[in-house]
């Protein structure tokens, strides 16, 4: 239950390669996301349809960056494998018992923080990865949150946080707005 391993690249740069099959500039190949440069593997024409043909290319690149050596065929072919319902019985039962979105697209084809920010604020303040360069996000994510809109209408709200988390990730992501509520 650990395939593919290592995990696929998740930053915006990696997802661009996965969706469009591009590694641009060529120096972005086989290096960690932080070392990649503009245009971050995005196509020159923003209307270019994503062919979804770069999952192998990106996995070869991400694997090389993470493990310091290029993968063998058997190692990178893992990115094209998938589980059968029998192999993931709980997830499959949930998907069969409730609604399964087969055409869901996240707001930012990238990491957690920008997408959670969209969920609470309708924007990620332009940031497309979690925290790179250091301090960009969430320190400067100043977008007004839905919690403040609720408050403005006299409604109460609360964000729950369970152990082992000591601090609400929602609070961290919207620190400029919510820090004083912690």
């Amino acid at each position: 239950m650990n395939s593919p391993s290592p995990d696929p690249g998740e930053e915006y740069q990696h997802v661009n390669t996965q969706l469009f099959g591009l590694i641009d500039p060529p120096g972005n190949r086989g290096v960690v996301a932080d070392k990649m440069t503009a245009p971050y593997n995005a196509p020159a024409d923003p209307r270019q349809p994503p062919a979804m043909d770069g999952f192998v290319a990106d996995y070869v690149s991400a694997f090389t960056a993470e493990l310091g050596r290029p993968p063998a065929f058997e190692e990178y072919a893992e990115i094209m494998t998938g589980y059968t319902p029998d192999q993931v019985p709980v997830l499959s039962a949930l998907a069969r018992g409730f609604a399964a979105f087969d055409h869901w697209f996240c707001e930012v084809p990238s990491q957690t923080f920008p997408n959670r920010s969209f969920f609470h604020a309708g924007t990620s303040s332009g940031y497309v990865v979690n925290m790179s360069p250091a301090g960009s996000f969430p320190i400067h994510n100043t977008a007004e949150t839905i919690f403040e809109r609720l408050e403005a209408k006299g409604l109460t709200w609360r964000v729950y946080c369970d152990p082992p988390s000591r601090i609400s990730l929602t609070g961290i992501i919207h620190a400029p707005r919510l820090l004083d509520r912690w």
């Binding site: 395939s3 990115i79 319902p85 399964a100 087969d102």
Partner: protein, 55 residues
């Protein structure tokens, strides 16, 4: 574990074709990604098909 998995990786085979009214999965479809030039295995494999031989 399970960070950033695709829909096709986790749920692509949830339903077989015709089992439900509408499901955009992988069963019964010819899906693959090209193998980049000059990587290991490129001489023997032009593409990696979905599912590969693992199952």
């Amino acid at each position: 574990m399970f960070e950033n998995r695709s829909f096709d990786n986790l749920l692509g085979r949830l339903y077989q074709p015709g089992e439900v009214a509408s499901f955009d999965g992988v069963a019964g479809r010819d899906l693959s990604n090209p193998v980049p030039e000059r990587v290991a295995g490129a001489a023997d494999h032009k593409v990696v098909p979905y599912g590969w031989p693992r199952t």
